[in-house]
């Protein structure tokens, strides 16, 4: 019996090994061809690191987009930073002469590209091609925010994000849509139920956690690691925009509800005021942007945006906020040059600074400077007659982009807290008489300016 058993074992082993032998023969062919390919690319002058999966994925993606006329540009912060550091080198190398893979071979999970949606030619033919090339793609769609502001329109959904995975590396294609106000907008990456949560490590994505807004970048073509790509002309400007790019949409639905309750004022005067306020805001924004001073909609202008997505027709002025550390001394001159003379100046840079400029048609531009404390922010007020000081307290906030009267402007991200601090819980109810010294719930008396300082801290023109 044992003899036979042994024989059986022998036979079995022979069989298995022959099977494996056959498999090896079959596999050898593939193994060889892969080796050859690697060898070939290496023989082209010692090119180091070009077999990394990141580089291959990017290469395939760039090939795909140029063949299919998909208008994309590179926005990956990691790579843009690297490019920026070695910009001279990137500029001087022409196609194919690179010897070392320096940028696209850096280990990472994603490479981010932006798709300029308004320049695309054919809708989605490229996805099919991408899938034939070995990419696995998912698409995230949503409704078009540009139609939200208009009553009762419902359109087809627009694409917001594509993620195309090639083996372990994924290309994150963020769809940039044009918005009124000359900026590019991308949507929030919200996974629908049917999408595999493990498709890629979504948490590591650099874009899509929030909607974002960017200045429209000028582009340039460069050759990076032997690949021709479009990148922003000023890569660092773009990279620095990323952490502050969060965008919040106006609450159009609530604004419509507001107007159903309190009819919109469409009188000639209201329309005229809105028009001049809009022009004043645009002029102020242009001036401050030129100086590089960040600002946000404050007080009544902010309330108008938040409550009714428009300028409050009876508010009589435009209110902006600026952090005191961003104050520049040439601000007054710049506004004067823009045709907005100084109307009054209260306080000083160290304390309770407030500037007021005279716009056209009796519309005033108020700029409040905000001071940061450990647990709150505040801005000051001064009563010209008595020299009394006031302090308006706000919970700490950060800045977000939004769209307001065809402009990309900042508002406090924590808008509700900001507005409730300023106007109380009843901010939803329109109030036409407002005493800036008494009405705001966040106002505090802050002493009196010493008479000796009055000349400096109370300037009326």
């Amino acid at each position: 019996m044992s003899r036979i058993n042994k024989n059986v074992v022998l036979a079995l082993l022979t069989l298995t090994s022959s099977a494996f032998l056959l498999f090896q023969l079959y596999y050898y062919k593939h193994y060889l061809s892969a080796k050859n390919a690697a060898g070939l690319s290496k023989s082209k002058g010692s090119r180091i690191g070009f077999d990394s999966i990141q580089w291959r994925a990017v290469k395939k993606f760039i090939m795909l987009t140029s063949n299919q006329n998909v208008p994309v540009f590179l926005i990956d912060p990691l790579i843009l930073e690297l490019i920026n550091k070695n910009f001279e080198q990137v500029k001087n190398t022409s196609y194919g002469s690179t010897s070392e893979c320096k940028f696209f071979c850096v280990p990472r999970d994603f490479t981010a590209f932006a798709l300029q949606y308004h320049l695309r030619k054919n809708e989605e033919g490229w996805i099919q091609v991408a899938e034939n090339m070995g990419f696995q793609c998912i698409k995230i769609e949503s409704k078009d925010p540009r139609l939200d502001g208009i009553d009762s329109l419902s359109g087809t959904e627009i694409p917001l994000h594509y993620i195309c995975k090639l083996a372990t590396h994924a290309i994150h294609l963020i769809v940039f849509h044009e918005r009124s106000g000359n900026y590019l907008w991308h949507g929030h990456l919200r996974l629908k139920e049917h999408i595999d949560r493990k498709f890629v490590p979504f948490r590591k994505l650099r874009f899509g956690r929030y909607p974002g807004a960017f200045d429209r970048p000028e582009l340039q073509q460069v050759t990076v690691d032997g690949l021709e790509v479009l990148i922003p002309k000023d890569p660092m400007y773009f990279v620095e925009e990323i952490p502050h790019s969060r965008f919040i949409e106006c609450r159009y639905k609530e604004a419509r509800a507001f107007f159903q309750q309190y009819l919109d004022d469409n009188t000639v005067e209201a329309m005229a005021f809105r028009k001049s306020a809009k022009e004043l805001l645009q002029l102020a924004a242009k001036t401050l942007n030129k100086l590089g001073i960040p600002f946000w909609l404050s007080s009544g202008t902010c309330l108008g945006w938040y409550r009714q997505c428009n300028i409050i027709p009876y508010s009589k002025d435009v209110d902006l906020g600026i952090f005191i550390q961003d104050y520049k001394s040439d601000i007054i001159l710049a506004f004067q040059d823009a045709g907005l003379p100084l109307k009054h100046k209260f306080g000083k840079v160290e304390d309770s600074l407030e500037l007021s400029f005279q716009g056209k048609d009796d519309v005033k531009l108020d700029i409040f400077f905000f001071y940061e404390e450990t647990d709150h922010m505040w801005n000051g007020g001064t009563q010209a007659k008595t020299g009394k000081k006031f302090k308006y307290l706000f919970p700490k906030f950060t800045l977000c982009w939004t769209e307001f009267v065809d402009m990309k402007v900042h508002v406090p991200c924590e808008t509700l807290e900001y507005i409730e601090a300023n106007y109380g819980k009843t901010w939803k109810i329109p109030v036409k008489t407002w005493d800036w010294k008494r009405s705001p719930p966040n106002v505090q008396p802050n002493g009196v300016w010493p008479i000796s300082e009055w000349d400096e801290v109370i300037q009326l023109y």
Binding site: L10, A34, A37, N132, D151, A167, N182, M271
Partner: protein, 660 residues
């Protein structure tokens, strides 16, 4: 060989022989037991090692495959997955089902119910007379088309024949008569009904009731008919209840090649009927046109807004002509549909365009007006960089050189503030009054019907004061009002670049269309080079007009301007006539002249400072209103301006119809 039989003796012998060989071999080996042991163990070890190494190799390769992409495996996997997913979806819902169809025909009410769901019910008075036709998908039972042909009136039977011929074979057809459907049901239509297998249809008489269910090109599934007993009375109401067996989805679909275009086509054709050869199995009409691009196209990035309601057949025709026009860019087109209608949306999807639906606000003219506002606002929001937008309507044919026309003229809108719009439509451009496709005019009236709107005009002037829903205004009438137009003018071509084919509409009916729109001239020549475009600018145009008037021959004012002989039988001349026009708003004589020339006479159109320009018998014909027009100075003193008396009041003008 056949009769060879194996001998029972041979077998054991052979076996024995084999065995002995085996034994010898074994014996030899046992003789070297030590060696054999060694070999055996060696072999086993070797084999084991091979197995282990191989397993390791496989594991390694697995990892390598998932990391590398050169291996085609993932791709195959993906394709397989796709392949596996597709077929069951197409196979549809399992076993064959039966639809339970009810059809009712009577004098004052018709209805059709499919599986208990009413898909047609019409008991409105004075409405819906004639033969109602419903087409069902033979595989799903969905309503694909719903039409009513008032075959009591002339020509409606022709439309019915056209429609029934377009329906694909195999579809379920349901017909039912309301009130009267036989008076103008001519032989062609009756023959078609006969070919469908109907018994009663071809013999349908005055005020008969009739209900019919059948498969196109297949068996009749049920028919009921009741003759009217006398001229003054109707046939008894009939109720037809019948079962319609459903066929499989494969049978209901065509086998087109699997391309993106055909996927769109398939989706469309399984939902709706009545679009002719677009759903033909054998030779479907293309849904992508790729017309020649325009060299130096200035309007490539100008958004196109198509304003639509629920007239999907019109929209289909319109989009076909639009997408065939040279220089069109489909990604710039947005179709705005007033209401949540599915079929227009299906048409939009068929052509792969963007469609936006709009919840109706208000009623009638105000509804149209609100729809326009939302559409225009949305267009400028969707294309924030666009300085202009092209506005089209769903009942327009678009000329092949529509975009070429705009590309050549759009710079005027940028450079000349005195312009209100550029329109593709000449209100006075009829077959007999328009001639020169290269010629442009300036007019004080806004024609609409295919026009270009400036963003700044809309955003800064029109949008903020657009009529609110409670004001039941026509948007175009409102735009023509002096408060809005503020003395600005529109550029129009002599030969229109759009053609208004809509017969059914808010302000439209067959008579009106026949009288005012049918004979409108429409350019069909591609690539027309416009002449002297810059002479359309404000000052240059005055120079041009003065030049024209100076060389124009003054017509014989003693003749009747309505007579054909008023103009000599020449070609290529320029003639001028002077009519009486006391004030800027005195159009008495002009209106009478327009009436007898058979051009637009319902209100004043096409004027520029008291001057009208048109063609008669291939001659350029100028009409100057004296003394209101500044061009009156060109009138020779001897000429007395023509005066035409308006007709006595009781005749009245036809309807209060307006063009939208």
């Amino acid at each position: 060989m056949d009769d060879w039989k194996p001998s029972p003796l041979i077998k054991p012998f052979g076996a024995r022989k084999k065995r002995s060989w085996y034994l010898t071999w074994k014996y030899k080996l046992t003789n070297q037991r030590a060696l054999r042991r060694f070999c055996q163990t060696g072999a086993v070890l070797f084999l084991l090692v091979t197995v282990i190494v191989n397993i390791k190799l496989i594991l390694d390769t697995r990892r390598a495959i998932s990391e590398a992409n050169e291996d085609p495996e993932p791709e195959q996997d993906y394709d397989e997955a796709l392949g596996r997913l597709e077929p069951p979806r197409r196979r549809g819902s399992g076993p064959r089902r039966v639809l339970d169809v009810e059809v009712y025909s009577s004098r004052s009410k018709v209805y059709v119910a499919v599986d208990g769901t009413t898909v047609l019910e019409d008991e409105a008075r004075e409405q819906g007379r004639g033969i109602h036709v419903i087409v069902l998908n033979q595989a799903t039972g969905h309503v694909m088309a719903k039409r009513v042909f008032d075959t009591y009136s002339p020509h409606e039977d022709e439309a019915m024949v056209l429609f029934l011929n377009m329906v694909a074979p195999g579809r379920v057809l349901i017909c039912t008569v309301k009130d009267e459907g036989s008076f103008h049901l001519k032989d062609t239509a009756k023959a078609l009904l006969r070919s469908l297998g109907s018994q009663a249809g071809p013999a349908l008489g005055w005020r008969d009731t009739w209900a019919f269910v059948g498969r196109k090109g297949g068996p009749v599934l049920g028919e009921k008919h009741s003759k009217s007993p006398a001229l003054s009375s109707w046939g008894d109401p009939v109720l037809l209840k019948t079962d319609v067996p459903l066929s499989s989805a494969e049978e209901a679909e065509c086998h087109w090649a699997d391309t993106e275009l055909n996927r769109r086509r398939r989706r469309f054709c399984s939902k709706v009927e009545g679009y002719g050869s677009v759903c033909s199995c054998k030779d479907p009409t293309p849904i992508e046109f790729s017309p020649d691009p325009l060299p130096d196209n200035k309007v490539l990035n100008v958004p196109v807004a198509v304003i639509a309601g629920n007239r999907p057949n019109y929209l289909y025709r319109m989009l076909r002509s639009l997408l065939s026009a040279q220089g069109v860019s489909p990604q710039m087109i947005t179709v705005f549909i007033d209401g949540y209608y599915e079929e227009p949306m299906d048409v939009v999807a068929l052509f792969g365009l963007r469609g936006i639906q709009h919840t109706p606000i208000s009623i009638k003219n105000a509804r149209v007006s609100q729809h326009y506002k939302a559409s225009l606002t949305a267009t400028f929001n969707l294309f924030p960089e666009a300085k202009f937008a092209v506005v089209l309507e769903e009942d327009l044919d678009i000329a092949v050189d529509f975009f070429s026309f705009l590309s050549q003229s759009i710079h005027l809108l940028e450079e000349d503030d005195s312009l209100y719009c550029i329109s593709a439509w000449n209100d006075q451009g009829y077959e007999h009054t328009a001639e020169d496709p290269a010629l442009l005019y300036r007019v004080e009236t806004m024609p609409g019907l295919g026009w270009v709107l400036r963003r700044s005009l809309y955003k800064e002037e029109l949008e903020p004061k657009w009529p609110t829903p409670e004001k039941l205004w026509d948007w175009d009438m409102w735009m023509r009002m002096p408060e809005q137009r503020r003395g600005r003018e529109c550029i129009i071509p002599d030969v229109s670049r759009s053609y208004h084919f809509g017969i059914v509409g808010l302000n439209m009916n067959g008579y009106f269309h026949e009288a005012y729109f049918k004979k409108h001239k429409f350019n069909t020549v591609p690539g027309v080079q416009l002449r002297n475009v810059d002479s359309l600018k404000k000052e240059a145009y005055e120079v041009e007009i003065h030049r024209l008037l100076s060389e124009a021959e003054v017509l014989d004012h003693s003749k009747n301007p309505c007579e054909d002989s008023f103009l000599p039988d020449t070609e290529g001349h320029t003639y001028v006539a002077f009519i009486r026009m006391e004030k800027d708003d005195d159009f008495t004589t002009w209106t009478q002249l327009a009436k007898c020339l058979h051009i637009w006479d319902l209100d004043v159109r096409g004027n520029h400072r008291g001057l009208w320009r048109l063609f008669r018998k291939k001659n350029h014909f100028l009409v100057v209103g004296v003394p209101a027009s500044p061009y009156s100075v060109k009138k020779p003193p001897s000429v007395t301006p023509i005066f035409l008396e308006p007709p006595p009041k009781e005749e009245g003008a036809p309807g209060a119809a307006e063009q939208t």
